[in-house]
């Protein structure tokens, strides 16, 4: 097979098994590790990595799926804007998220114009091709996506594309991690820090968690052996009764991060309080469009009905996002709430922890 099995380097497979052995031999105390990033949740489930870990090492999913933490108020606004006739330009996984007035998919079925993008820049092309229509790009995501949305906004300004605007609901990861660890109910011993986000913000962004709160941290890449390396580093910190930010993704992540991308964000956005589904409003945890680009802020362009308050019903997405409950603890999981007909966003996005558990681990649930 020439060094690969099913597209995987044999060395990667061997390293996973070796790390599983090393972690087991380290015999750590009971330990709860939260993976903050939705892509990590997805990959952990996809490769069944929990099966390689001793029983006392527990992995829980955090608030790192951008779709899952988008607040009802934003979902409601987006659907209203679509219903008012603007072209909504969005990444695909927002389309099926059910908001108080239904999802974008529902709005599309009723005649709204919803375009799925692969790059935010495509939204400018949509705007150029439809000069008589309003185009609203959804700014959803963390530090990973925010720079590309920032560049899109500054390009729109350069072209003076007046029909273009952004509904900005970007969020920042470290303030959410801080909110989780100060919660008295928090039982998190360690963070598996996100990979993509860390390429932008650097390992320094998590130093305060290790130094001020004593939380072991390791930044991980996305391959199965990358994740296992980071878990092994966390186990080492716990065994040594120490905490710092270990970088297990050195091929992409630096201490200071990507300063160019940070500057692009700072040029367009300002840090603001943000509402997270399940976590409530967290101070200084989001981005809003700064004064210089305020004409591109969709929040200033549309007269919207006040958001509809809704009863979450049996859905416990909020607790799941905070690591206080497992998806399988939810009475709706797998019965009333499935990927085909999701109640909460954690079941919609491929990165959502409920979807990951449903898709890959149903029998263990």
């Amino acid at each position: 097979m020439g060094g690969t099995r099913g597209g995987f380097l044999v060395s990667v497979i061997a390293r996973c098994q070796e790390l599983a052995q090393l972690i087991a031999e380290a015999d750590p105390p009971p330990l709860t590790i939260m993976e903050v990033c939705g892509t990590h949740s997805h990959e952990i489930a996809r490769y069944g990595l929990a099966q390689l870990l001793p029983d006392q090492v527990r992995l829980i999913s955090g608030p790192g799926c951008p779709v899952c933490v988008t607040a009802d108020a934003d979902l409601d606004a987006i659907v209203q804007i679509a219903q008012q006739g603007a072209i909504i330009a969005t990444f695909g996984d927002m389309v099926r998220v059910p908001g108080p007035r239904g999802s974008l998919a529902d709005a599309r079925a009723a005649g709204a114009d919803v375009r799925v993008l692969y790059s935010p820049m495509q939204s400018l092309e949509v705007a150029r091709q439809n000069p008589d229509r309003e185009v609203v790009l959804l700014g959803i995501g963390f530090e990973t996506t925010a720079p590309s949305i920032a560049v899109t906004i500054s390009d729109a300004a350069g072209e003076d594309l007046k029909s273009f605007s952004v509904h900005c609901a970007h969020k920042l990861i470290p303030p959410a991690m801080a909110a989780l660890v100060v919660d008295p109910e928090c039982r998190i011993d360690a963070f598996l820090c996100p990979g993509h986000v860390s390429t932008i913000i650097g390992t320094q962004a998590y130093d305060f968690l290790a130094e001020d709160y004593g939380i072991a941290c390791a930044v991980a890449g996305f391959g199965p052996s990358d994740i296992m390396e980071a878990i092994y580093a966390i186990v080492g910190q716990i065994k040594g009764a120490t905490s710092y930010v270990h970088n297990a993704y050195t091929r992409a992540v630096q201490v200071l991060g990507n300063t160019v991308a940070q500057a692009q964000m700072a040029a367009v956005f300002e840090v603001a309080d943000a509402e997270w589904r399940g976590l409530g409003t967290i101070p200084a945890s989001g981005l809003r469009i700064g004064d210089e680009y305020t004409v591109f802020d969709a929040r200033n362009r549309y007269e919207l009905e006040p958001p509809i308050e809704r009863d979450p019903g049996p859905c416990i997405c909020g607790d799941v996002l905070q690591g206080k409950a497992l998806p399988t603890d939810c009475p709706a999981f797998g019965s009333a709430c499935t990927p085909q007909s999701p109640i909460g966003p954690c079941m919609v996005s491929s990165e959502g922890s409920c979807a990951a558990v449903f898709k890959y681990q149903r029998q263990q649930g």
Partner: protein, 340 residues
């Protein structure tokens, strides 16, 4: 009177039932299609068939873009219905062709699609014996919709989605995901510099070779269209009341398809194919069937990807490259790329 005769696009007049429609059918459709005879304009075709058991199926086709690397909606419409017949072990004989054309479709594009339909039918040795053409207003269809129904002659053995048995080997006829990724890359104009082509093909001669090699050992056949391998395995597991264990490292996939799936955040197991099949074959005959597949041009990359088990009936499990197991779910719905 402006009949639109000289216009190079389809308009509502072409679906009027009058002279324009007759001209369209006589000049553009009939000459391009195999199996035409003086009865082509009758209200119904009459056919003569020897077999005492027939297979009968219908399928409707919509795709964007209408033309993509490796084929177009016309090739799909012929291959798709032939393949549905072939999965019951039937020899395809007759097709119907229903066209719903959106006003404004370029005549040149229609000609190209009809030409593809004719070529695909001729190559597969099936006749298109009856048809219908409608034109709908702008905005009422996505360029063109095509429906084909097909009749085939069954052989002595009729594979069934309910007939998989514990111990059967699961065989696929080649690399997975080529069609879905090629169409998505073409549709979204993604700048992925790889030679991605649809695998669209008529599979009935491959099936004939498999059945000749093994007779009744081929318990189940399924073409891997929408929902891909994941949907087909789950449908078989549910319909046959068995479990399936597939091995990720055994599933053949072109590296560029795997990479595109990673970039787009899609599961390669849920991506559509239009020229691949899955077979559940009695283990004792699996080698012979595999050899027969590999000797056929459409089965060169065929391989065993797993087996049918009695445990966990209705469930499909995937052995991952690192030796763990996970559930391979029935895909939920529309394939949507994710944010990160």
């Amino acid at each position: 009177m402006n009949t639109g005769k000289n216009s190079e696009t389809i308009n509502l007049g072409h679906g009027s039932g009058g002279a324009m429609m007759q001209e369209l059918i006589a000049q553009e459709l009939l000459p391009a299609l195999p199996g035409q005879s003086p009865q082509a304009l009758e209200d119904a075709a009459t056919i003569s068939i020897a077999a005492d058991r027939l297979a009968f199926t219908t399928d409707s086709f919509t795709v964007q873009p209408l033309v993509f690397p490796g084929g177009d909606i016309g090739t799909l419409a012929v291959h798709g219905t032939i393949n549905d017949l072939a999965m019951r072990g039937a020899t395809p004989r007759f097709l119907s062709l229903g066209l719903i054309i959106e006003e404004g479709l370029a005549l040149a594009l229609l000609r190209q699609i009809i030409k593809s339909i004719g070529a695909a039918a001729r190559e597969a040795d099936v006749n298109i014996v009856t048809g219908d053409t409608k034109v709908v207003g702008h905005g009422s269809a996505d360029g063109i919709f095509i429906n084909t129904a097909g009749i085939g002659e069954c052989g002595a053995h009729v594979p069934s989605v309910t007939a998989a048995q514990p111990g059967d080997k699961a065989l696929v006829s080649g690399t997975l995901g080529d069609h879905g990724i090629a169409v998505m890359v073409a549709r979204e104009a993604l700048e992925i510099s790889a030679d991605l082509r649809s695998d669209t093909a008529a599979l009935h001669t491959l099936v004939a070779a498999m059945l000749e090699a093994s007779g009744e050992a081929v318990h189940t056949l399924r073409d891997l269209t929408r929902g891909g391998l994941a949907a087909a395995l789950n449908e078989i597991a549910a319909s046959s009341g068995v479990g399936v264990l597939a091995e990720a490292t055994a599933i053949p996939m072109r590296p560029e398809v795997g990479s595109a799936c990673e970039i787009l955040g899609l599961s390669p197991y849920a991506v559509a194919n239009e020229g691949k099949l899955l077979a559940m074959v009695d283990a004792a005959a699996a080698d012979e069937v595999l050899q027969a597949m590999q000797s056929h041009p459409l089965g060169r990359d065929a391989c065993v990807i797993g087996e049918v088990i009695s445990e966990s009936p209705g469930m499909v499990q995937l052995q991952t490259p690192i030796g763990t197991r996970r559930v391979l779910e029935l895909p939920a719905g529309e394939l949507l790329p994710r944010i990160c």
